[in-house]
Subunit: 214 residues, 2 copies
Amino acid sequence: MGQKAGSIPTPVVRRLAKYLMHIQGLRKAGVEWVSSQTLAEALGLTSSTVRQDLSHLDISGISKRGYETATLEDVLQRELGGDVVWKAVIVGAGNLGCALATHVPFAKQGFDICGIFDANTRVVGKKVGRLTVQGMEDLPALVRKEAVDIGILAVPVEAAQQVAEQLVEAGVAGLLNLACAHIQVPEGVSVVDAHILENLQELSYLLHASRKKK
Amino acid sequence: MGQKAGSIPTPVVRRLAKYLMHIQGLRKAGVEWVSSQTLAEALGLTSSTVRQDLSHLDISGISKRGYETATLEDVLQRELGGDVVWKAVIVGAGNLGCALATHVPFAKQGFDICGIFDANTRVVGKKVGRLTVQGMEDLPALVRKEAVDIGILAVPVEAAQQVAEQLVEAGVAGLLNLACAHIQVPEGVSVVDAHILENLQELSYLLHASRKKK
């Protein structure tokens, strides 16, 4: 599997995404410099974590002033591949798929959702924001025509593996998997899982554990 | 912050949730025994990871047969706090909030979404599945009446911290944060972030890195 394509460890990549989002907020507020200490406090991390994370980037801070926010945003964006626009399609036009299709922050961060598909002919033709739900038979042509990079799986568990294969076959290079199932993909295809139910179960574990303590 | 309530490390807890989901599928299919090797292959892990993870639980495998699926499901569910029903409310009745309010797998896994709230008076009164969107002024009373454990934040970044405070003030013990913002909570309150945009950025990093290699 292609998950190991990058050399920066996954938890660091996730924090880099957090830094990017925070820096963008700071820049909007007109802040020109930020120290690792300030970043750490804002994000609930230690400043040594922040410094170690940023050491993966081609940037260095200036003593007492820290990092220039404009440069830091640039460098983070380049490292995360956010300086290009990624084309994505969603499969699954249920509530979750439709919510993601119209999620404004995606477009703002350079993810262009250019199609939404569903195997259920009863939802084909339905309007979702500026898109119209298409049948699965139209997937390969759109992926080719738009040179789609990313497939977003918002289908039930049972359908996840098959839909993943259809997306890979059509030519996407990466999958964001929202179905609570492990999917297998050929070498060279990247998969990132986004399982909200697992996050809820993690929370349930924490609540359960803190009650046991009492 | 209360994130450290449990003694099992977060990555392990997330995998335990994956095992649970998989075991439930196996049980539905009538499978009575499963080996760590089979679990590992199905979930793309090494069998030593599986054995180490399961060593956190009050269960032991039998040589050659592995684990009894019924017992493993029970033990996993108890450890993850999934043997009780957790009451949850959603704040933010946008597309994402509405999608989560009607997400069938949550109810199946013991998460009872018993209310959805929004600060925007224009959406108050709107039907979302069997729920009706309520104004924020009704939040404290419902949290108290239903003894709500979990608040799910599906609000824009700018509103996240304030809404988190309202939920904590109302009495929830845990937050699932879908807003792409770091939120600060008092000691004893657990927070789990579920940032789909960050997952997409992780994917963008992997795609970018694998293209650079070519």
